[in-house]
C-alpha cells in the first residue's frame, strides 16, 4: 500500500516537472539513474545477505524464537532477531499479531518490531556507503539499545 503512495507522489512530481521544464526533468532522471548505479554494488550485496538470512530465519523460525523466549533473555533474543532480519511491515505485523494472540509477551513483540524498524545489520553496507563506518555502526548500536528501552515501555503500557 505504501508503495502505491510512493508511485503516486513520484508520478505527480515527475508530471509537474515535465510540464514546467522538460530539460530539467531529463537531468533529474539522469541523476536518478546515476545515483542508482552508484549504490548498485551495495544493493546487490545486501540482496544476497538478506536472502541467506531470511532462509535461515524464516517467519516460522522467528515466531518460534520470539513466541517461546520469555523474560529478559526473550526480549534480548527478539531484539537480535529484529536487528538482523529485513522484513516488510505487511509481513511482520500480521506475524507479530498472531504471536500476540498465541500468548507471546507484548514486551518481546515490541522488542522485535522496534529493532526490526530501527536496526539494519544486513543493510549496513548501504548505510556505510553514505554515512561511513563510524556513523552507521554507531547509529545501529544506539538503535539496538533503544529498542530494548522501547520494548519495556510498550510492554508496560500494554499491561496497564
Amino acid at each position: 500500500m505504501d508503495t502505491i503512495l510512493l508511485y503516486v507522489i513520484a508520478g505527480a512530481g515527475l508530471l509537474v516537472s515535465v510540464f514546467k521544464d522538460p530539460a530539467k526533468t531529463m537531468t533529474a532522471l539522469r541523476k536518478a539513474l546515476k545515483a542508482l548505479e552508484g549504490i548498485l554494488p551495495q544493493f546487490l550485496v545486501v540482496l544476497a545477505l538478506v536472502a541467506v538470512t531470511l532462509a535461515v530465519l524464516d517467519t516460522e523460525t522467528i515466531s518460534r524464537f520470539i513466541g517461546t523466549g520469555s523474560g529478559a533473555w526473550g526480549v534480548l533474543g527478539a531484539s537480535l532477531v529484529g536487528a538482523i532480519t529485513l522484513i516488510p511491515g505487511f509481513v511482520a505485523f500480521p506475524a507479530a499479531a498472531a504471536l500476540l494472540a498465541g500468548g507471546a509477551g507484548a514486551t518481546q513483540i515490541a522488542a522485535f518490531v522496534s529493532s526490526l524498524m530501527m536496526v539494519g545489520v544486513v543493510t549496513l553496507p548501504m548505510e556505510m556507503k553514505y554515512f561511513g563506518k563510524q556513523a552507521a555502526i554507531l547509529r545501529n548500536v544506539l538503535a539496538f539499545g533503544f529498542s530494548l528501552v522501547a520494548a519495556v515501555f510498550v510492554g508496560w503500557v500494554v499491561s496497564l
Binding site: 500500500m1 505504501d2 508503495t3 510512493l6 507522489i9 513520484a10 512530481g13 515527475l14 516537472s17 530539467k24 526533468t25 537531468t27 533529474a28 532522471l29 539522469r30 541523476k31 536518478a32 546515476k34 545515483a35 542508482l36 554494488p41 544493493f43 546487490l44 550485496v45 545486501v46 540482496l47 538478506v50 536472502a51 541467506v52 531470511l54 532462509a55 524464516d58 529485513l86 511491515g89 500480521p94 507479530a96 499479531a97 500476540l100 507484548a106 513483540i109 515490541a110 518490531v113 524498524m117 530501527m118 543493510t123 548505510e127 556507503k129 553514505y130 554515512f131 561511513g132 563510524q134 556513523a135 554507531l138 547509529r139 538503535a143 533503544f146 522501547a150 510498550v154 503500557v157 500494554v158
Partner: protein, 178 residues
C-alpha cells in the same frame, strides 16, 4: 574496466558465497531462492520512485532554500520538516540513505539528517495505520511515542559522539554526488 571490477568485487564475492550457500545447504536452498526473488522484487518495485524523487529534489530545490529550511541554523523548522519528510516517506529504510545523501549535498544540517533517518525508520504513517490494525492502537501508539523520543535521543547522541572531522568528510563526499 579495472575500476568497475574493483567496485563490484564485493558483489562477485557475495554471488559466490550465495551459490556456495545453496549448494552446501540443500535444506535452505528453496527458501533462499524464494527469498532472493521476493527481496529483488521488493527492491525493484520500491527503487524507481525513490530515485526519481531524489533526482527531482536535486534538480528543483535550490541549495539556498534547503539551507534556509533544513540547514543547521534553521531553528525548529529543520527538525520538524525532517521529521515530516521521513514520516510521509514509504519503503524500507535503505531507501532513506541515498535520499539523505542528497539532502546533505544540498546543505541540510546533520542533526536534521539524523532525524529524517530516524523518522523514516519508525514513524511512517502508512505503516503505522497497518500496525494499528494488526497489533492494536495501544501497542502501536505507545511504540510510536517512545520511538519518537528515541529518534531525538539517538540523533543527539550520534551528533555528540561523531567527530566533527568525520561529519565534514561525509558532507564532502555528499557534495561530490552529481
Amino acid at each position: 574496466m579495472k575500476k568497475l571490477l574493483k567496485r563490484y568485487a564485493s558483489v562477485i564475492i557475495a554471488v559466490f558465497a550465495f551459490v556456495a550457500f545453496i549448494l552446501l545447504f540443500p535444506a535452505w536452498r528453496g527458501k533462499a531462492l524464494n527469498s532472493i526473488i521476493f527481496q529483488a522484487k521488493t527492491m525493484l518495485l520500491v527503487i524507481p520512485p525513490i530515485f526519481i524523487l531524489l533526482g527531482l529534489l536535486d534538480v528543483w530545490v535550490p541549495r539556498e532554500k534547503m539551507i534556509k529550511y533544513m540547514g543547521p541554523d534553521s531553528g525548529l523548522k529543520g527538525p520538524v520538516l525532517a521529521f515530516l519528510l521521513g514520516s510521509f516517506a514509504a519503503g524500507p529504510l535503505y531507501g532513506a540513505f541515498p535520499f539523505a545523501a542528497i539532502l546533505m549535498k544540498k546543505g541540510a544540517g546533520f542533526m536534521n539528517i539524523l532525524i529524517f533517518i530516524g523518522a523514516w525508520s519508525t514513524t511512517k504513517i502508512p505503516m503505522l495505520l497497518f500496525e494499528i490494525s494488526a497489533l492494536g492502537p495501544r501497542f502501536a501508539l505507545s511504540r510510536l511515542a517512545i520511538d519518537i523520543v528515541g529518534i531525538i535521543i539517538i540523533a543527539f547522541a550520534i551528533k555528540a559522539t561523531l567527530p566533527k572531522k568525520e561529519v565534514e568528510r561525509l558532507y564532502a563526499e555528499a557534495a561530490l554526488i552529481d
